[in-house]
Amino acid sequence: MNLNFTPEEIAFRDEARHFFRTAIPASIRAKVAEGEGLTRDDMIEAQRILNARGWCTVNWPVEWGGQDWTPIQVYLYQDEMQQANCPSPIAFNVSMVGPVIAQFGSQAIKERFLPATANADIFWCQGFSEPGSGSDLASLRTKAEKKDGKYVVNGQKTWTTLAQYADWIFCLVRTDPTAKAQEGISFLLIDMKTPGITVRPIVTIDGGREVNEVFFDNVEVPLDNLVGQENKGWDYAKFLLGNERTGIARVGASKAKIGRIKELAALEFSGERPLIESPRFQEKLAAVEVELKALEMTQLRVVSDERKLAKGGQNPASSILKLKGSVIQQQLTDLLMEVVGPYVMPYQRDFEGKNEPVIGPEYATEAAPMYFNYRKVSIYGGSNEIQRNIIAKAILGL
């Protein structure tokens, strides 16, 4: 057992640290640090910088632009990227649809989509959830019927993050209404410009516009936009959801938040002393730091085990990553809000682009919206309750 990184790993870490802090524009990193939303252009610009270096699609097969890295290198890459407040590559492209196409798609569909997906020439969004199908995803009803050499898609998707930016959507659609729920689903790629698609925003409690409803009304989709085999979509979706086991803990991002909380708590005063010197505040923060350190060690255990596990094998510790990581992220947004005090109150999103002076310190404006927004992290990607169901069955055998 050795918790020190090797000289090679340290050299790699330093290289990553330097790269993320110099190559990605400071203006973009500042937005991530402050929790301000990125524009479509920001995301594409950051992704192209990464892709130009081959550091965008590191988990893809090498022939499609992946890196033959050790699990520790992948961990260091993610950790440094998050600590530097560098935006992660667009998850829908790089963590979701890309690996599915690379694993299950035909050669033609790979060539057609993978390079464009890596370079963010296509901005993807995800069409999984439906109004009646959240945790019970397999009950989805959006259907694709074969008619005149095409699929005709009808139905509705929801919680579609950044659909307003997206060029394409990857959808789970029902292609066999007579089969068992999981067995009649297919994985279909749809151009968002196709006639019959309507995107309608859903405003979230933080006032943000991140998620949308997407309606499909007789949308015609070419048959060769199907990934893999018809009616095997559920298997591909499970592969997709299980793909990002370690990045999901977002330990690096939480470390960056702790650094920011300490920085700002030194600027805010509680009585005669900076808030950071209040024992009560210090202890609340230290308690989260202990949990985060434990999670980092848990993540490293998982990462270090990946080398030894047979494909598909799973370290029980991996199941903790999302449960614990989501709660820690939420606790930190709560502490950040506590730091900024009364300036948490002004709602300033309506001033955007209006050249109005900021009320209170600039760093206070996003504290409350971020706190409200981060309630989502224990809901999306399989809510923490669904995670517990999965762990109880798969790990504990209950």
Binding site: E283, L292, M297
Partner: protein, 382 residues
């Protein structure tokens, strides 16, 4: 970076795991506890034969030069067995103090005896007023001719009742809470003026109260006249060892609880089929694994020579272990229901052990306060 055990470590783990699995079933433990010493002398001999008592000492002294990871391997297994023998007091505390404070001649004489099972040790440092503060020492050591005279009282000396020699802190110079001037003596409990009163602890182990009245000791019995830094390092190693022991105990509670949920039937079905109990079991798993991660961190950081970094890491681990153990222990009892309350069933005994571990060398809140005052664990990346 890797979490793999070396070949030697794997062999060590196999042999301690086997010892505990074969000889430390809950019913066997009950018999050991009823022996006069409060533990099994036969088991002590087996632990000796396995070479475990020489863990911290060099090979030339009859040991095998183990560090934090080896200690954690042994203590994790002992946690699963709720081992009663005075291993922690003799090897982790006593062995650690010998190694860090004894002159070569004394180490050369004592270590082989410890390794051979002929010398049981204990460490007397708690006083009525001191709580967890190692520097809060009112027992006095006054120079008298060539030696010293000790006066004072020590409390909750773990396994102090059966120890052949006892390490005692006594103030040679300075005010009550001064960091400087704390002497570390190694005394024979048979010395006139030493009175000890042994008793059981809540978790079925043993401890003693020690009073020292005009106890004359020689100059050679003083191992250090400024012992606090060495003591702090040994206590950090001891905390790391207890973290590993607590993880072993937590794992056993988790195993017992799962087994119970799968076999106990109510309303015509195994109670583990109820979602409310499933989710609570998952939260127990999370608590155990987070604790395991921090116990590993502590095992490695126990050897860190930079005292600030070491103490922060050890404190962080003790916080996590304290909180996880409280959660896992309370839930294990609750999920068992009535049977968990009974003395004849194992789970409550694990619960009692981890509860006592939280109270040793600083509870979770004490360590959290220390860590917080040090500015936490994460700093700015350079």
């Amino acid at each position: 970076m890797d979490f793999d055990l070396s070949e030697d470590q794997r062999l060590l783990k196999d042999s301690v795991d086997r010892l505990v699995a074969d000889q430390y079933q809950f019913e066997q433990r009950k018999k050991y506890m009823r022996e006069p010493a409060g533990y099994s002398t036969a088991m002590w001999n087996q632990i000796t034969e396995l070479g475990l008592l020489g863990l911290p000492f060099d090979e030339t002294l009859g040991g095998f030069g183990g560090g934090g990871v080896e200690t954690a391997i042994v203590m994790d297994a002992f946690g699963r067995g709720l081992v009663l023998e005075p291993y922690f007091a003799t090897v982790i505390l006593g062995g650690g103090l010998l190694r860090r404070t004894a002159p070569a001649s004394m180490l050369g004489e004592m270590a082989p005896k410890v390794a051979a099972g002929k010398m049981k040790l204990a460490f007397a440092h708690v006083e009525r007023q001191s709580r967890y503060n190692l520097e809060d020492v009112t027992t006095t050591a006054v120079k008298d001719g060539g030696g010293y005279v000790l006066d004072g009282a020590k409390s909750v000396v773990i396994h102090g009742d059966t120890a052949n020699r006892i390490f005692v802190t006594a103030r040679i110079a300075g005010q009550r809470r001064a960091r400087d001037g704390i002497g570390l003596f190694l005394i024979d409990p048979a010395t006139p003026g030493v009175v000890r009163r042994g008793y059981p602890t809540q978790d079925g182990q043993r401890a003693a109260e020690l009073t020292l009245t005009k106890v004359r000791v020689g100059a050679a019995d003083l191992l250090s006249d400024n012992a606090l830094p060495a003591i702090e390092h040994v206590i950090d190693e001891a905390i790391a060892a207890l973290c590993a022991e607590a993880v072993g105990a937590m794992q056993s509670m988790q195993d017992l609880t799962l087994e119970y949920l799968k076999t106990r039937k109510q309303f015509g079905r195994a109670i583990g089929s109820f979602q409310v109990l499933q989710h609570r079991s998952v939260d127990m798993l999370v608590a155990v694994e987070q604790a395991r991660s921090m116990a590993m961190f502590a095992a490695v950081m126990a050897g860190e020579e930079n005292p600030t970094e070491r103490r922060k890491a050890i404190s962080a681990a003790k916080v996590q272990i304290g909180r996880s153990a409280k959660h896992v222990g309370q839930e294990a009892i609750q999920l068992h229901g009535g049977i968990g309350m009974t003395d004849e069933y194992a789970v409550g005994h694990y619960f009692k052990r981890v509860t006592m571990i939280d109270q040793m060398y600083g509870d979770a809140d004490t360590h959290l306060a220390f860590l917080a005052a040090q500015g936490g664990l994460f700093g700015k990346v350079a």
